[in-house]
Amino acid sequence: MTALELQQKSVLYRKNILKYIYGAKAGHTGGSLSCIDILNVLYNYTLNVSPENFTSPDRDRYIQSKGHTVEALFVVLADKGFFPESDLETLCQYKSHYIGHPTRKVNGVEQNTGALGHGLPLSVGTALAAKMDERDYRVFTLLGDGELPEGSNWEAALTASHYKLDNLCAIIDHNKLQITASTKEVCDTNPIDDKFESFGWAVRHVDGHDVAALKEAFDAMPFEPNKPSLIIAHTIKGKGVSYMENVLKWHHGVPSEAQYHEAIEELDAVMATL
């Protein structure tokens, strides 16, 4: 997919994220909007995964550690044909498998996440199995920046470099906000790059909304031979909807009717310029 086509997809995905969160009156809006360009490039460019090969042991794996922004994942999986988009009208309803976190009851989802700090260890194991079986698949996992203080991440970071998992790529959605405040105020994890480098990882910084830069970064993995790769994706929480950008309450804020229409108008205007 070209950069322009990817940009158009991103706008469409943003509109759908808002549509289904607005419909369900629940969801993690800000963090879905911050990571959607990353998911877009992964699923439309990088990952060797589709509804057709989803049961193949050789498919690439995407494990979303920041499970709360499931709306971003569901919208992309629907677009890729893993299930009919209309299924998302049941989001969070009684007996729907489309709940507020990824579950394997939904076609295309690799792991049940939602408790933070699980994606990286799961990804390490999955990448290690590829090495054992001499398979070529790669494993990608997306973490929140607020999620980093979970100790399991650092334990897994050690395992990843110890086993030289150059088929593993972790992406941090570095939107600088969590629920209570900025990550700097809650638990300052900076400098993230130095920490991971000292744990034996190769690290790159990328503009997490620049689809061309994301393509290039994913193409470049492993960034160094025999090392796991980390992408620190600099993003904006609520990206694409002006009144949501960098505003804490949109972590799990749901737009009112007027706010919803305002957001869709803004995104339509962006689409018209592409």
């Binding site: 969070c92 007996k95 979970e150």
Partner: protein, 322 residues
């Protein structure tokens, strides 16, 4: 004892709101009261606490194991620590810290499990805590409490703060009706609270399931002329075996009700005591069965598994007319 509550039950606040205001009252006169949070002060209703007592709140970030370890360290140095985090993460992720650093080492941390049971509804199993009574019951030296209404909440927090012992106190998110006029109520850890008296059967409920049990009792009375006792068994451990003994002696059916797995919780605790002390009352455990939990809101889940006015009334009728 218990007033019969057929009329409108006075609506209260969410228990967590009362937890927060009670903690603020305590903190105002005691600088050693400390809240420790893991990006959870909003869901723990502690934003006003943080604003009023910025020196008495410690933010850990999203790291629940660390939260409990740090809380235990603070407690060992004389702080009166309330470690506040979603019940699901607090009692699963940080279980070893609870076992070793709090209970075994006897560091008197008050663990506050927020949005417990299925309060998080459609966020799913990662966010549900249907295991917390079970795992903590098997750990020595921790009192397990699930307040049912605002009165029990205020009492539990104030009394726990004064006791140098480990506690786990579990809260949901819903607004909770007052079960009894406060003037008629007493609260003591380890002593069940009888909120309604009847002759035909007994509901032994806890936390947010006491209210539906009370509704079911009213429905049974009105529609069938059946009168039920309802107990708020706010302390899961140590269990009020004296009260159970008294209830069982009448020989009538007993139904336990909890927002927890049917394995290892209040129901099995009661069953174990009753069976071993020779009672053979008709007995039913109402809770969440051992299956992939149905998805939906807390209300959807309660209705699905019969933790509701009609579901509990039906369970009572089945037990009374086998």
């Amino acid at each position: 004892m218990g007033a019969i509550i057929e009329k409108e039950i006075e609506t209260g606040k969410a228990n967590l709101e009362v937890f927060s205001s009670t903690l603020q009252e305590l903190a105002a006169t005691d600088r050693d009261i400390i809240a420790v949070t893991s990006d959870s002060r909003g869901s723990g209703k502690l934003v006003p606490f943080g604003q009023k007592f910025p020196k008495q709140i410690v933010e850990i970030g999203i790291a629940e194991q660390n939260l409990v370890g740090v809380a235990a360290g603070l407690a060992s140095a004389g702080k009166k620590v309330f470690a506040v985090s979603p019940a699901c993460f607090l009692t699963a992720r940080a279980l070893e810290q609870i076992k070793n650093d709090v209970a075994y080492s006897d560091n008197p941390v008050k663990l506050i499990g927020i949005s417990a049971g299925v309060s998080y509804g459609a966020l799913g199993t990662t966010h549900h805590s249907l295991h917390d009574y079970a795992v903590l019951r098997a750990i020595n030296n921790i009192t397990i409490v699930a307040p049912a209404d605002n009165f029990e909440t205020e009492q539990a927090i104030a009394q726990a703060a004064a006791l140098e012992q480990p506690f786990y106190i579990r809260f949901g998110k819903k607004q909770m009706p007052l079960l009894q006029p406060d003037s008629e109520s007493t609260f003591e850890f380890g002593k069940g609270r009888v909120v309604r008296e009847g002759d035909d059967l007994t509901f032994v409920a806890t936390g947010e399931t006491v209210y539906p049990a009370l509704q079911a009792a009213a429905k049974l009375e009105k529609e069938q002329g059946i009168s039920a006792t309802v107990i708020s068994m706010h302390t899961i451990k140590p269990l009020d075996t004296g009260l159970l003994e008294k209830v069982a002696a009448a020989g009538k059916p007993i139904i336990t009700v909890e927002e927890h797995s049917v394995y290892g919780g209040l129901g099995e605790a009661c069953a174990s005591f009753l069976f071993q002390s020779g009672h053979r009352n008709a007995f039913k455990i109402m809770g969440i069965p051992d299956e992939y939990t149905v998805t939906g809101s807390q209300n959807d889940i309660f209705n699905h598994y019969g933790l509701s006015e009609s579901g509990l009334a039906e369970a009572a009728l089945t037990l009374l007319n086998p």
